[in-house]
């Protein structure tokens, strides 16, 4: 879909610019600039980072957060928030380990069960928010605590069982090939998810979703079933969290801490991508770029030998700075807003 269509009367360059702005636009060009700057920083510290194998390692590491950020994007752009994804990732990994318990043959059924559980969590989040009119911040905070608590209660803080080798493949495995040595499955999954997300956002559902986040009443008066659209966004977010759980489980293994804090990392990523809290603005590509930027920043911290405990503070600063920056952008006196706007003269 990025392929420039044959230019009609407009020049090819403006056509490409148009496609670029459609993809990256919405005031989110900043995140791409930031991503490039951070990559340049990492490269300056450690030139070998740009070699394919270490880039692939970076992707493997970043994939879960990108997937989570895409899920979070659907919810945020509809004007809500999903705090439950971190706990959900943790719970899903623990469920997988306990139920598979090292038996290869159980991989398929357990994956299916995880999907069902993910959909269920999303449905509960969505329906409580839309039908019972509980603010999503509260709904998903509650869900986060319930999942976290249930997880702790069940495992006593020490998850049991083990993941199967097949289960771990998507997160850690890949295809042997030249240059990169190992093309990670997670990269392929990531590409597929990003393409699917972009397609969804260009479909009627995606457009309706953004419209709901922008102006719920206008959307409802246009025949949108707002509750359904928003609930579906929560389901998408939970399904993405489930996929992230598979990737993390494979990559990092099973611990009691898995998934902790990921909800905030995902929100940081989305906000950094210029997606406005409150909904209605921002692209899914920018959310993805936000996630890569957060991961790249953490990589840079590693290069600088900063302790990993600095991450929450850094995330906090990023969230505040990104939202403040977006607010500033929005409050700039955009001249065309009043009645004197530069319009072509009428005939």
């Amino acid at each position: 879909m990025t392929a420039p269509r044959p230019a009609h009367r407009s020049s090819g360059a403006s056509r490409v610019a148009g496609v670029a702005s459609a993809l990256f636009g919405g005031g989110s060009a900043t995140v791409f600039a930031l991503l490039i700057v951070i990559f340049a920083g990492i490269f300056a510290m450690n030139p070998s980072f740009m070699e394919p194998p270490s880039l692939m390692a970076f992707i493997k590491n970043a994939a879960p957060l990108v997937v989570l950020a895409i899920g979070q994007y659907f919810v945020i752009v509809a004007g809500e928030l999903d705090l439950s994804v971190g706990s959900l990732v943790g719970t899903q990994v623990v469920i997988a380990a306990a139920l598979i318990d090292g038996e290869e043959s159980r991989t398929g059924p357990v994956l299916l069960l995880m999907l069902v559980f993910g959909v269920l969590v999303g449905l509960v989040n969505g329906l409580i928010t839309t039908v019972l009119k509980v603010h999503s911040l509260i709904t998903t905070l509650g869900m986060m605590l319930v999942l976290y608590g249930a997880n702790r209660l069940w495992t006593g803080g020490a998850p049991t069982g083990a993941l199967s080798e097949a289960f771990r493949q998507p997160g850690r495995g890949g295809v042997e090939m030249p240059v990169v040595r190992l093309l990670p499955w997670s990269l392929l999954i990531l590409v597929a998810v990003v393409i699917a997300a972009v397609v969804v956002m260009r479909r009627p559902y995606g457009r309706v979703l953004i419209a709901v986040g922008d102006n719920e009443q206008a959307a409802a008066f246009s025949g949108v079933r707002v509750w359904q659209v928003r609930t579906a966004a929560f389901v998408l977010s939970s399904v993405m969290a489930t996929l992230a759980a598979v990737l993390i489980g494979g990559y990092a293994g099973v611990t009691a801490q898995v998934g902790e804090g990921l909800e905030f990392a995902a929100i940081t990523a989305v906000v950094l991508g210029g997606v406005v809290l409150g909904g209605g603005r921002g692209t899914v590509i920018a959310a993805m770029a936000g996630a890569l930027t957060v991961e790249a920043l953490f990589t840079l911290f590693n290069q600088l030998s900063l302790p990993s405990t600095i991450r929450p503070a850094a995330q906090g600063l990023i969230i505040i700075a990104a939202v403040a920056y977006a607010a500033r952008e929005r409050s700039q006196p955009a001249p065309p807003v009043d009645d004197a706007r530069p319009e072509p003269a009428r005939s």
Binding site: G18, A22, R203, P204, Y205, R207, V208, I210, A211, D214, N215, Q217, A218, A219, A220, F221, S222, G223, V224, R225, G280, R281, A334, P335, P336, V337, D338, D339, A340, R341, P342, E343, P344, A345, R346
Partner: protein, 512 residues
């Protein structure tokens, strides 16, 4: 009320003094000139209309006077002394106040707290509420607004009441000049009268009023002189006493509008009943019997709160009729949601464009196909192919289909809303205040569109509080009062006949 001429309005103000002289005001935004070389004079004690189509530069000129924007070139003299306001506060200190369309009031605070916001009288550091209320009461009494209580929370006031609080607030700074941006846009007819009286009082006190409005009637009722802007340039400043309405329209649009309300297109004839409501009622409406025929423009008239919008909402499933039946094309339907209404072939252009009609941060294209995307996603892409043609036939002025609608003028935003509903090919279209807050050219386009739709056999139900438009467009006028149908009048009726039914008084009697 009778509008007093400047000569009659004594009040001791020297009428011919130029309180304000703006000369050669130019302003560009991002390299686009929105004002070039505009002159404006205001005399003490005059009401001076500032008119022009959207995009003519009225708001920019007003904002330069208010200190919100700064002119690139040109001079502003106040009482003969050159001034340059860098900030709205400086304008306020120079006793130049502005009442914007969006109210800057705190709804949960009282009238007095709003009037004295930020400069409350204090005793030993504590806000002296008693003195504040007394001062406000004095201000209100001076203006003959004794029905307003200083202690009343602003939320409890009508829109007109809130508008008046804004003006009182402006006056509390002892303003010599007050500019008002479409002060009647949100007011019902009977509330406009309140504003007229207040303006007459201000004029007597020698306050100069700069009055921005789209409504020609108000300009001729209220204003002494009118300054017309077009495309950022001054067309002329003329006395309203020597001006005819059609001349003013021609100055504004730069071309004559042959007939402001276009004639019916040939071949337009009332057809089958498309929409029939029998005994419709809910907690706000009762005994609503209504028929809307194909090819016919039926108009719902009545005062604010008489049930006009409530009928539109009940028809569209936003509210519901709890009694009675609704038939569309002969089939009895239950309209429980806008979605069902759309599927039944109804469309509703809502009264409040920004809150209910548009997703302002989305593009023209996204807004125009929102209903299709929502209700018929599978065929949305195919059906949306009509939209570019619809938009261009409505003369939409926008940079392109990707431009966000918040950057469009009111008239162009309304065209996007209209295209959104036309794309659904409705058999009945309900238009709630379709020309509110849009400029003359766009109004004319909406009227011709209604004629075109009627000729195509669409049934049109229009809700309007602008009587000239009701009289000029409707084939039948249904007048509502207190949630019931007060009577029906044929097309071409008079404003007096409509008002008589709307207020329940005999023609010629007192109107309020």
């Amino acid at each position: 009320m009778t509008a007093s001429t400047p000569e009659a309005a004594g009040g001791g103000a020297a009428v011919s003094t130029h309180l304000l002289r703006m000369r050669g005001i130019s302003k560009s935004f991002l390299g686009v000139r929105v004002l070039h070389g505009v002159d404006l004079d205001l005399r003490a004690g005059e009401v001076h209309a500032l008119v022009g189509e959207n995009g003519a530069g009225k708001s920019t000129l007003m904002k330069i006077l208010a200190g919100v924007h700064q002119a690139d070139s040109g001079t502003v003299e106040l009482d003969g002394a050159a001034v340059a306001f860098e900030h709205p506060l400086q304008a306020q200190q120079a006793r130049v106040s502005t009442v914007f369309q969006e109210f800057n009031l705190l709804p949960d605070r009282t009238v007095a707290e709003n009037v004295f916001l930020g400069r409350e009288p204090r005793t030993r550091g504590m806000v002296d509420a008693r003195r504040m209320n007394a001062d406000t009461a004095q201000l209100l009494a001076d203006l003959g607004l004794t029905w307003l209580t200083p202690q009343a929370p602003v939320r409890s006031l009508s829109v007109a009441g809130q508008q008046i609080v804004e003006i009182v607030k402006a006056l509390s700074y002892d303003a010599r000049i007050i500019s008002m941006d479409e002060p009647t846009a949100a007011l019902a007819d009977e509330e406009v009268d309140l504003l007229y009286r207040l303006i007459a009082r201000l004029r007597e006190r020698g306050v100069a009023i700069l009055y921005v409005s789209h409504r020609l009637k108000e300009i001729f009722d209220l204003c002494d002189r009118v300054t017309v802007l077009k495309d950022g340039a001054l067309v002329d400043t003329v006395d309203t006493a020597t001006l005819r309405p059609d001349e003013l329209v021609r100055m504004m649009v730069g071309r004559p509008i042959s007939s402001f309300f276009p004639d019916k297109l040939p071949g337009t004839a009332p057809g089958d009943v498309r929409l029939r409501v029998t005994g419709g009622g809910n907690d706000q409406l009762d005994g609503i019997d209504l028929e809307v025929r194909a090819g016919e423009i039926t108009c719902l008239a009545g005062l604010q709160g008489s049930g006009r919008t409530e009928i539109a909402h009940a028809l569209f499933g936003i509210a519901r009729f709890t009694r009675g039946t609704v038939q569309v094309d002969g089939r009895t339907v239950r309209l429980r949601s806008p979605r069902q209404a759309v599927r039944t072939g109804l469309a509703l252009v809502t009264e409040d464009r920004k809150a209910e009609g548009l997703a302002l941060n989305q593009s023209v294209a996204a807004n125009a196909r929102l209903v299709l995307d929502a209700v018929d996603p599978r065929r949305a892409a195919a059906r949306a192919r009509r939209i570019p043609g619809l938009l261009s036939s409505l003369d939409l002025v926008a940079r392109g289909p990707d431009q966000e609608v918040r950057f469009l003028s009111g008239g162009n935003q309304q065209k996007v809303v209209l295209a959104k509903w036309l794309a659904t090919e409705p058999s009945v279209i309900v238009l709630d205040e379709p020309t509110r807050g849009i400029d003359v050219g766009a109004k004319h386009r909406v009227y011709t569109l209604m004629r075109e739709l009627a000729a195509d056999g669409v049934a049109i139900l229009m809700v309007s509080s602008e009587l000239p438009e009701v009289i000029g467009m409707a084939d039948r006028v249904i007048v509502l009062r207190d949630g019931r149908i007060a009577g029906e009048l044929p097309g071409g009726t008079t404003e007096e006949a409509v008002m008589a039914l709307a207020t329940g008084q005999v023609p010629g009697g007192p109107m309020s």
